[in-house]
């Protein structure tokens, strides 16, 4: 009898600690990225006196802004268990397009079409939305997997970019874009404000609107979404267009931020955006995560990139370290999915 009593006590203990463990397991996807961010920040703060300063926090915010704007749309796509590899190319071509429709200085050797600023912006937005729509149609109507469809679009957008600038560099963009991309208000760069606003809007849409719920449900179980009478193709198509338009906005502001529009300017943003979303803990299998995760992911990448500069590390080693951090995040992502599935059983 005594042994069974102690077994019961033991079981009680296990039950209590089991509950906490189950909660931790189910929240692993949110906890792990946040811990990573805190650890990285602490490490760099100790390693370099110039890291943990107000100025540098401002630097990090500015540095992650373009990635942040692009990552908003990508978060929608990944939540639906799809992928968009054309985001950086679409950002690039949209940035180039807005410059192409703006009067350039006489020394810029591009046969461009100068238009009023508002027209240039509208045309550039129409271009990225159009490219996103082609992605959407390829994915939903023809049934090309998004990985392949957007791989093709990556080339198409790069091709349009090349044709527009022909190896040259354009500098002028409409005033509104120039202001939002490179000016500040009250010491805060406009681009940070735009990125924050877009992240906020993305979060509101995903969390509080019907469309946002549909995105999560389609990502969680596409078959069930279809048998619930949702228009799955419309939802998938919409997220592809949203991703392209976010990329386009990021591209226009990025061009203003960098001060020039040229070929291959955004190449690193593809990996950075995917990394931000996934490192933040949004599930590659869809249905889990959100803008909150993306923000944490952005800061992890931002702190990492910025911090590595402060500790004066070999710039070639930086690339490798970034790759390793991404790998670690992917491992956590997959494990979090598994643990969550177990906790739900």
């Amino acid at each position: 009898m005594a042994s069974s009593d102690s077994a019961a006590v033991h079981a009680d203990h296990r039950k209590a600690s089991g509950k906490i463990a189950a909660l931790l397991r189910s929240q692993m996807r949110n906890i792990a990225p946040f811990l990573t961010l805190i650890l990285l920040s602490a490490f760099f703060a100790v390693a370099s006196p110039s890291f943990a300063t107000i100025d540098n926090v401002g630097n990090i915010l500015t540095q992650v802004s373009v990635t942040g704007i692009i990552a908003v749309g990508l978060t929608f796509v990944i939540l639906c268990a799809e992928i968009d590899l054309s985001i950086a190319s679409i950002a690039n071509v949209t940035g180039i397009a807005v410059a192409y429709f703006t009067a350039q200085e006489s020394y810029v050797n591009i046969a461009n079409i100068p238009l009023p600023g508002w027209a240039a912006i509208l045309l550039a937005l129409a271009l990225c939305a159009g490219l996103g729509l082609i992605n959407a149609l390829g994915l939903t109507l023809i049934g090309i997997p998004s990985f392949i469809m957007t791989l093709a679009m990556m080339q198409i957008a790069a091709g349009i970019s090349a044709l527009l600038v022909r190896g040259q560099i354009a500098y002028k963009v409409p005033d509104l874009i120039a202001t939002l991309g490179s000016a500040s208000i009250g010491g805060i760069p406009w681009i940070v404000i735009v990125a924050a606003l877009m992240l906020l809007i993305g979060h509101l849409v995903l969390t509080y609107t019907r469309f946002g719920r549909y995105v999560y449900m389609v990502g969680g179980n596409r078959e069930a979404a279809e048998y619930s009478g949702l228009n799955v193709k419309l939802i998938l198509g919409s997220v592809m267009v949203i991703a392209a338009v976010c990329s386009g906005i990021g591209g226009m502001l990025g061009v203003a931020h960098f001060g020039s529009a040229q070929q291959n300017e955004f190449d690193t943003y593809l990996l950075d955006s995917i990394a931000a979303v996934v490192v933040g803990g949004t599930s590659l299998f869809g249905g889990r995560g959100g803008i909150g995760n993306t923000i944490v992911g952005l800061f992890v990448l931002g702190v990492l990139n910025n911090g590595l500069d402060h500790v004066n590390i070999d710039s070639f080693l930086k690339i490798l370290i970034r790759g390793l951090i991404l790998l670690a995040a992917l491992v956590i992502n997959v494990y979090a999915q598994r643990l969550r599935a177990k906790a739900a059983e």
Binding site: R210, R213, A225, V232, L234, A341, A344, E345
Partner: protein, 500 residues
């Protein structure tokens, strides 16, 4: 009979909880080589949970687990497979994109000395094994292209021929036709006589009594009875399962069921000459308001395809649909839903979001009617709570992830999705498959009350009992064509089976 031998598997005081809900409470269970051990109990009684512990699906539980007289702990299904345990789960778990042969030899493909897969040998042996089991299909065709019932048979065959010494079958017969069940039982008896230990879970008490040596009854996570199959009766088992006084619930349908005269209410849906490649041939019928139309046929008769055409998931090659007198060509399931059609597929996995809370599952199909751009979570919860109460879904917490509910309760959630705003036409596939007597009865009551409200209801099933218990008019579908209609007459299970 097996008392002299020692058990191959002996579980003592097994307890397992999911998120505070106890699924098993101190259960003892012993399994002997060369016996078929039947398990019965209502949905959520703990049968499947216990079997999943044995199969290594749930590695965390308390209690003692002895295999071959040694204390063992499986950390995963891999460990249990290595120990010679194989399980057929209630929900289909096959690889639809692989060939039939690859599924049969999943993980144990025959290889040559270079480690390359011997495709021809694999195809031949898979074909032979399946043929022994009465299945004649091309072993190299994609499994997902076959009807669901055949896929289930192939999954069973894979496990039976895997060489496992402990085989667990969770509701294997629900999708099978009577001759298929007979073939399954013959194979099980052969394996038992060769020394395999078999656990057989079913809601079909006749099947349990027919095949089992020992029967164990579960209720509310406890073992309430264990007896030799020869020493008990169906009535006794049902009494143990659900308590006294409810034996009448289990209809046997050996006598005639009287179908009422045809309804005179308006036609809600007209199907004209629906045809779909090899699945359906010139299927025409009408469904009227306030009437339950039963469509019966064996697995693979084209029911699944027909149901999907009605809900806009498949488009027919030929033929038309009219809803309330207007011709409709659904481009998507969303079109069908907007036309007032509701659909519950035969698989809960295809219908529900297991990682989302119950209330989001209940509200998903009506979000556009209860909210515009912005969600109204308070309203969603209120609606879900009302449905949970009306359909007696347990547990009642609407915040709980759906995956934590038992199968029968999940099925009720699948129905609840459509009931807040009653549709014109409700298409139900296998509405009571794998459900216990009590839950079945609940579903029957729900369907009848919906009929009284004036809905047109189509019930498609491979179980004669389901159709007989629900339908006012019955169509028999055979090889994709309507071969018989029963209306305004008395009909028995035998005559229905004969027609199919």
């Amino acid at each position: 009979m097996s008392e002299a031998r020692s058990p191959i598997l002996e579980l003592t005081q097994i307890t397992k909880a999911f998120g505070g809900v106890e699924a098993l409470r101190g259960v003892d269970f012993a399994l002997y080589p060369g016996e078929v051990h039947g398990l019965v109990g209502e949905n959520g009684a703990g049968k499947s949970t216990l079997m999943k512990i044995i199969a290594g699906v749930h590695p965390e539980f308390s209690g003692r687990f002895m295999l071959d007289g040694r204390e063992t702990r499986f950390r995963s299904t891999r460990d249990s497979r290595a120990a010679g345990i194989a399980m057929v789960h209630q929900e289909l778990s096959v690889a639809p994109d692989l060939s039939v042969a690859e599924n049969v030899f999943f993980g144990v493909q025959p290889t040559n000395r270079l480690g390359l897969v011997q495709w021809r040998r694999m195809a031949r042996e898979a074909g032979e094994q399946l043929a022994r089991f009465g299945i004649h299909v091309d072993p190299m065709c994609r499994l997902g292209d076959l009807p669901i019932g055949l896929q289930q048979l192939i999954e069973i065959a894979r496990v039976l021929f895997s060489g496992a010494r402990i085989i667990i079958l969770d509701e294997p017969t629900s999708a099978l036709s009577p001759p298929e069940v007979e073939r399954l039982f013959a194979t099980l008896r052969r394996l038992r006589d060769a020394g395999t230990a078999i656990v057989f879970i079913s809601h079909f008490i006749e099947d349990i009594l027919n095949i089992s040596d020992t029967v164990t009854v579960f209720r509310n996570g406890r073992k309430v009875a264990e007896t030799a199959a020869a020493a008990t009766t169906k009535a006794e088992l049902i009494e143990a399962m659900i308590g006294k006084g409810r034996e009448a619930l289990e209809e046997t349908y050996t006598h005639d069921v009287a179908l009422p005269p045809p309804s005179r209410q308006p036609v809600v849906l007209t199907a004209n000459g629906l045809s779909l490649s090899r699945s359906l041939r010139e299927v025409s019928f009408q469904a009227r308001a306030g009437e339950v139309l039963g469509i019966y046929g064996f697995m693979g008769c084209g029911q699944i395809e027909l149901a999907r055409i009605l809900f806009g998931k498949l488009r027919p090659d030929r033929g038309t649909l009219e809803v309330a007198g207007k011709a409709k060509a659904f481009a998507s399931t969303a079109d069908a839903r907007r036309a007032g059609i509701a659909f519950v597929p035969e698989s809960r996995r295809a219908m529900l979001f297991h990682q989302e809370p119950v209330y989001k599952n209940v509200s998903i199909s009506i979000l556009d009617r209860i909210s515009s751009v912005w969600l109204k979570p308070a309203r969603e919860r209120a609606i879900a709570m009302r449905q949970v109460e009306q359909l007696q879904i347990r547990p009642t917490a609407v915040e709980l992830d759906l995956g934590m509910l038992s199968g029968g309760n999940q099925q009720k959630v699948a129905l609840a999705k459509w009931l807040t705003f009653p549709p014109r036409l409700l298409v139900l596939c296998e509405p009571t498959r794998g459900m216990d007597v009590g839950a079945k009865n609940d579903v029957i009551h729900i369907v009848r009350s919906l009929r009284e409200q004036g809905l047109a209801i189509i019930v498609l099933s491979t179980e004669p009992e389901t159709v007989l218990s629900l339908a006012d008019r019955i169509l028999v579908l055979k090889r994709g064509a309507v071969v018989r209609e029963f209306a305004n007459e008395a009909i028995s299970k035998d005559r229905l089976l004969e027609a199919a």
